[in-house]
């Protein structure tokens, strides 16, 4: 729908010359708001350019349109400029071109100034045609190249995997392996080698780590990775950081720090992930100096790395004072995940945060860490909280609540929105048997569809 509309729409352009013709020379000077160009000037140019006289235009639509379009060009570019351009082109043709080309060139120049719009459209068509042909050639070429490249990579990947696994499992020695690794100086082959080694490093553990890193160094692949890091392109930087961290951690150590606060989010995220791996003694230390955002995607990435490398768990309370809200929220989630109960006073204090997400994580922490001292605080906050946080408060009471909370929950069950009522019913039901009795008593006073609520909350699938 989008482009082909142009097909018919542009047809309308055909009326342009008629339109100009329709206005006539008398009104033309005003119609564009440009009155500097006089008719006599334009006629003069027409004569110079070898066109027919003004009187003959009305009988021939092409010529009349030509005259009008010529005038349009004069208005756009200025008579003097056009004259000068024509003169320059003629001079160039006369002085620089060989005789056999001169005549053709001068004719083209002359025709261009007689029929400027026709010339322009033909030029545009030729440009488009050239574009189409170029794209088709590119398509043909790149398709061939891509297929060839894919086949090439597959062949060499299999070959390298066989040789390197042979070396890693002591079937062959390094000298033999080194001879068997063909075309190792070719850029594409080096990237295949790096990819194969990365796969090995991710899938093999123990002594293989050092062996794989040795291969990486022996083949001099670290120079490629360093080149990538120094590249101005962010995606190359990321690849370089990743390769170096995985296959040459010692070399990566010095490169990572400058990128921890890099302006590009992907470079920054990769550097932060690398930092975790390279600083096992205090993996989250970089959070203290973080001046830029620490988005959820990066948080997931660093947590995943942290878990897979089974690193030492730091006390996340030290990051709760960070000015960076992303860092604070991440720390709260980590405190909850690692059950760092000793941090309860700080967590309770953060309930006052103006950020909804921070308060949400606090309530969840109170629930998961069973911080009973936060019970009254979250109840007080309930009327001022968002819907999502209100539900989280009711859920928390199910775990940390007691009989003192029954009135509060009853009130929600009677007056709250359906989800809040359901959760209040669940909390009442599961806090103690007395809660269940309270529900039954309430239902006797008024028909609250308690059976349905109970059926809902006791079905673990809901």
């Amino acid at each position: 729908m989008l482009h082909t509309l142009a097909l018919y729409s542009v047809i309308i352009m055909v009326f342009l010359p008629d339109y100009i013709q329709a206005q006539g020379p008398e009104i033309r000077n005003d119609s564009y708001g440009i009155s500097q160009v006089k008719d006599s000037d334009s006629l003069q140019v027409s004569k110079n350019a070898g066109t027919t006289k003004k009187n003959s235009f009305s009988s021939d639509p092409v010529k009349s349109s030509t005259y009008k379009s010529e005038q349009l060009f004069q208005r756009i570019f200025g008579v003097k400029n056009l004259k000068a351009l024509e003169k320059d082109l003629n001079e160039y043709g006369n002085s620089h071109l060989p005789p056999f080309m001169r005549r053709i060139f001068l004719e083209i120049v002359e025709k261009s100034f007689i029929y400027p719009i026709v010339f322009l459209i033909i030029t545009l068509i030729l440009v488009l045609l050239f574009n189409i042909i170029s794209v088709i050639i590119i398509l043909r070429y790149t398709n061939h190249q891509k297929n060839r490249r894919e086949r090439y990579i597959n062949i060499y990947r299999t070959r390298y995997e066989e040789i390197l696994s042979g070396y890693l499992f002591h079937d062959i020695d390094w000298n033999t392996a080194s001879i068997l690794i063909k075309k190792k100086n070719k850029l594409l082959n080096r990237s295949v080698l790096i990819s194969v080694l990365s796969n090995f490093q991710e899938n093999l553990r123990g002594d293989f780590d050092n062996q794989i890193q040795e291969i990486f160094i022996n083949l001099g692949l670290q120079t490629n990775a360093i080149k990538l890091i120094k590249s101005p392109f962010y995606y190359k930087k990321v690849s370089g950081i990743r390769q170096l961290t995985l296959l040459h951690p010692k070399g990566a150590y010095h490169f990572i720090k400058p990128y921890l606060n890099h302006s590009n989010d992907m470079v920054r995220a990769e550097a932060q992930a690398s930092y975790i791996v390279l600083h096992p003694e205090d993996p989250f230390c970089f959070l203290k100096a973080l001046t830029r955002s620490f988005n959820q995607w990066t948080q997931l990435t660093v947590f995943n790395l942290y878990r897979s490398y089974q690193l030492k768990v730091p006390s996340f309370v030290q990051y709760l004072n960070s000015e960076n809200i992303n860092v604070r929220n991440f720390s709260l989630v980590m405190i909850t995940y690692f059950q760092q109960v000793e941090n309860s006073p700080v967590i309770l204090k953060m309930l006052e945060s103006p950020q909804e997400t921070t308060r949400f994580h606090c309530i969840r922490a109170i629930n998961d860490l069973l911080l009973y001292e936060g019970r009254e605080l979250i109840k007080c906050r309930y009327p001022f909280e968002t819907r999502k946080n209100q539900i989280e408060i009711i859920k928390a009471l199910r775990n940390i609540g007691n009989q003192d909370d029954f009135d509060f929950l009853e009130n929600i069950f009677l007056t709250g929105f359906v989800t809040a009522r359901t959760e209040a019913c669940r909390s009442l039901y599961f806090i103690s048997a007395e809660g269940h009795q309270r529900l039954i008593r309430m239902n006797q006073d008024a028909d609250l569809k308690l059976e349905q609520y109970l059926a809902h909350i006791t079905d673990s699938r809901n």
């Binding site: 729908m1 989008l2 482009h3 082909t4 509309l5 142009a6 097909l7 018919y8 729409s9 542009v10 047809i11 309308i12 352009m13 055909v14 009326f15 342009l16 010359p17 008629d18 339109y19 206005q23 092409v62 349109s65 026709v118 068509i125 488009l128 045609l129 574009n131 189409i132 794209v135 398509l139 043909r140 790149t142 398709n143 061939h144 891509k146 297929n147 392109f233 995606y235 990321v238 990743r242 990769e270 955002s293 620490f294 988005n295 959820q296 995607w297 997931l300 947590f303 995943n304 999502k388 359906v418 989800t419 009522r421 359901t422 609520y453 059926a455 809902h456 079905d459 699938r461 809901n462």
Partner: protein, 471 residues
């Protein structure tokens, strides 16, 4: 008369210049965005989200109406999505066939009592089903009275537990990696709230499908779907990408889109009285955020994540395009106060006017132009040499645009690997402006006629042939 003619012709002239200019600009921005997206996707690893306990819960809502033939297979395909935390809500929108019975049987479902929080109004929910089998623990089936796709989606949103929901067509094939790719923009952004993300939809005709998964990609054998391949390439890779880059995207295809649930609910969910509910929701969500003065973003993923069956008959295709036109008009008029309203930023000043001028009015202006030209031609006034020159120019412009769309797709994804596939597409691009485009214009006009004169609000029939099964 002369003055009228002058104004008329001048307007057409400038309109044509604007539309050509706009498409060139969109193509350039799309190319840059595509390059950027490809570079980013090369270095993105999804292992973290796949194995993380903190991956946000996503609700996949699949409305189904008379999908008896494919529903079981399609739900099974959804179950195979690679994402650690998602639930599937299948909404049986009052099907007249045995869609529900087949689903109950296939997944061992039973009726459960569920306290529904009707945060968005929808037609009565008759029953809710859950599976006895723990393997299907994340499937919920809603049986409700028929109310249309928008109403079914609203019912699904009411039951959704996730912070994000994905609306899909149950008859489309979703890429197994779609959820992890679509959720990424929501997790990456810290300065602005991402309210929705769309993905590229591709044509699956003649492709081979096995167990609800695409196993072999082919160019459609039939001409009509092939034209749609070229058309979709243009629309997704040379249009929407650019709009998303400029933060002016108004449409996320109903076949695949992920939304922030709370924002969607705050806006009132899908509007049930329109046939263009997908576009309408995006516009309303954007409008809501602009009015609340919250920084937001509607993102777009350039990876092809959804494969759909394109109509193969003129009748069905016509009905689909008629509906799209009515949906567009409906949305544009429902939110007319956005038009050239600086309060709504880029959407108000550029996106909405663009849709009005170059999406809704384009076919109308085009037909008026053609009729006007025919009148002039009969009267013997046109400048024929110019006419042929300009027609040639317009034709080559159209082909250039389509060829670039094919090139973009090829460079970015290299889906069509065989030479003959690319040749087929290029040949289609040469023929499409002459044969396919006039039909599209006609259907758009019919859409306008049905909307303004017949006041038609129904979807129309959409019959499908079914995908090719892999042997």
């Amino acid at each position: 008369m002369e003055i009228f003619r002058t104004i008329f012709e001048t307007s057409f002239f400038y309109y044509a210049i604007c539309i050509l200019g706009a498409y060139v600009v969109l193509a350039i921005i799309s190319a840059q965005t595509l390059k950027r997206n490809i570079n980013r996707s090369k270095i993105t690893h999804y292992d973290a989200i796949i194995s993380s306990p903190f991956s946000p819960l996503i609700t996949v809502i699949a409305p189904a109406y008379n999908e008896s033939m494919t529903i079981v297979e399609n739900i099974k395909a959804l179950l195979a999505l690679y994402y650690p935390s998602f639930e599937i809500i299948v909404v049986n929108d009052g099907s007249k066939d045995d869609s529900l019975e087949k689903t109950i049987k296939a997944f061992d479902l039973e009726k459960v009592t569920y306290m529904i929080d009707y945060r968005i109004p929808c037609k009565e929910i008759v029953a809710i089903y859950k599976s006895r089998d723990k393997a299907y623990n994340n499937i919920t089936v809603i049986d409700k009275l028929n109310g249309g796709k928008a109403d079914a989606l609203n019912a699904g949103i009411n039951l959704a537990k996730g912070d994000y929901f994905i609306s899909i067509d149950v008859d489309s094939i979703i890429d197994p990696y779609a959820l992890q790719i679509l959720i990424k923009p929501f997790l990456e952004e810290t300065d602005r709230k991402v309210i929705a993300t769309g993905g590229v939809v591709r044509i699956a005709n003649s492709c081979k499908i096995e167990g609800g998964r695409l196993v072999e990609i082919n160019v459609p054998d039939k001409f009509l779907p092939r034209c749609q391949v070229v058309e979709y390439n243009r629309a997704f890779l040379m249009g929407r990408l650019a709009w998303s880059r400029m933060d002016g995207l108004l449409l996320i295809s109903g076949a695949l889109g992920i939304f922030d649930k709370e924002i969607a609910i705050a806006c009132g969910g899908y509007y049930t009285k329109t046939v263009g509910e997908d576009m309408e929701l995006v516009v309303r969500m954007r409008k809501y955020m602009a009015e609340k003065k919250i920084k937001y973003k509607v993102d777009y993923v350039s990876d092809p994540l959804c494969w759909t069956e394109a109509p193969t008959s003129l009748k069905v295709l016509g009905s689909q395009r008629n509906r799209w036109t009515r949906g567009t008009i409906d949305t544009l008029f429902l939110h007319w106060n956005i038009f050239l309203n600086p309060k709504y930023g880029f959407m108000g000043m550029i996106s909405h006017p663009f849709w009005v001028l170059f999406e809704w009015l384009a076919p109308i202006i085009e037909v008026i132009g053609v009729l006007y030209f025919l009148t002039i031609a009969i009267m013997g006034e046109p400048n024929w040499p110019y006419f042929f020159l300009l027609v040639t120019f317009a034709y080559f412009f159209a082909i250039t645009f389509s060829t670039y769309a094919i090139l973009f797709d090829h460079l970015a994804y290299h889906r069509y690997k065989k030479k003959r596939m690319i040749i087929k597409l290029i040949l289609t691009a040469w023929v499409e402006p002459l044969l396919y485009h006039p039909c599209v214009v006609y259907w758009s006009l019919r859409g306008n006629y049905d909307y303004f004169i017949r006041k038609k609000k129904s979807w129309g029939k959409m019959t499908r042939v079914g995908f090719t099964k892999a042997s």
